[in-house]
Symmetry: C2
Subunit: 257 residues, 2 copies
């Protein structure tokens, strides 16, 4: 175990960068998960834990966690820990993790979620959690979406980030090629276009559902590329649904079919 | 118009209290909504706007807004405005609003959402937005839930807070009496109990759906009081869904029946 008390320490600097910057996460291929439950799951399921970072509170959890000897344990002073923690009531434990590298051509899929420039980290994390719940087997996060390794995204996934392959930063064209190669039926959500109510779709497998940006919706590329444009029937006064809610309702409905 | 430059000004102090404290909102029967779109809707639909609060950016919107003469306009210095604003990229306009007082015995309802100690303001606001989308006509927020007039809740409702009656701080017993008086069928979400899959419920009107706390679920009071305990079928690896997502899926499903 190393005990760090200065913000000039190089290990501290790395952890701080990874916790706060998407470009640093990309460059170093690392991210952080925070909280006892998810750190425990990361260790148990061999998810590529590189370091365990604790404060004095989290230190008490270390003994029960059965951490392999090649994982370094870093004790940060409380003030330093706060600067890398994303939660108000922290349990004082963070894992520094390797980002998994998926070779998308080798993934077999039946149900795919495409995240098209969704911006809010809570929405992205919630979509990942729902995709996991409804047995989706691949998520593609297109260029321009919120970084899926943002700590707020990871927290909102409630562990689902470990459960299915998530491929990020693909372009529209790369993604369309992959879907076409496996003869995937593409369903795009679309409020303005002539669209089919989701309960009336004859869902063909394998399929992909495209969920769009909170204010702009799905891009014209996917509205054009889709086999069907679908809509959730709204009978009340709200103009639209929250993006994570809309995506989750469609995943629920299609998983029942 | 009054121009406030000091944090010792009494009007500023009131606005600041209302924006930041649930107990002050309750005591003064006031809340705030922020952003051009929702302020515009508040004015147009006569929702009880008391004051319009702007900074120099928001000031430019005033002329197009057609504000009645009995609504006072308050110009705050940018620094003061920031302390009452809840958004990072503020549009510089806030409305101070009267909380509507509903007499619950006079409300006719067919579809009711019961919020049972949901804590996250984003979840509560999203539930209100979805209830509005699926034509619910009453929301009851039970004691112990996040304040529905919290600015983060109001923002997440995207205007739906104006569209249907929301009665707050009721006790379990008061609520059950109201529901029983109108022979309402009560559906409680329940992960642990013997529960019916939501697609298989024979929904009887009027009905109420109870959505529970993010980690503890629905309280035992409602699990006992419910006519049916229902569950969303999950086929994947996630243990559960986000509370707002779960509530929205059930509202969607029941509104199709």
């Amino acid at each position: 175990m190393i005990n760090i008390t200065s913000s000039r320490n190089d290990t501290y600097k790395i952890i701080h960068k990874i916790a706060s910057s998407a470009s640093q996460r990309r460059k170093n291929n690392l991210y952080v998960v925070e909280g006892e439950k998810i750190v425990r799951e990361a260790i148990m399921s061999s998810q590529g834990v590189v370091k365990i970072v604790v404060n004095n509170v989290g230190l008490e959890l270390i003994n029960e966690l059965n951490i392999s000897k090649d994982i370094e344990i870093v004790l940060l002073d409380d003030e330093l820990f706060e600067t890398v923690s994303d939660t108000v009531n922290s349990q004082g434990i963070i894992a520094l993790m390797k980002i998994k590298d998926y070779s998308i051509t080798q993934i077999n899929f039946n149900r795919v979620l495409i995240i098209d420039r969704v911006q809010d980290p809570g929405n992205v994390g919630t979509l990942i959690r729902s995709a996991d719940a409804f047995a989706f087997d691949l998520i593609i996060s297109l260029k321009g979406s919120c970084d899926i390794y943002n700590p707020k995204v990871v927290r909102a996934t409630m562990g689902s980030i470990f459960h299915l392959p998530i491929v990020k930063d693909l372009t529209n064209k790369e993604t369309l090629n992959i879907l076409n190669n496996k003869k995937t039926t593409i369903y795009s959500t679309n409020l303005s276009h002539k669209a089919i109510s989701i309960g009336e779709v004859n869902v063909k497998h394998p399929f992909a559902i495209v969920i769009g940006n909170e204010s702009k919706g799905v891009s014209s590329f996917w509205i054009e590329a889709a086999d069907s444009n679908v809509i959730i029937p709204i009978s009340g006064n709200a103009e639209s649904l929250n993006a994570a809610v809309a995506g989750s309702i469609i995943m629920y409905q299609f998983s029942c079919m």
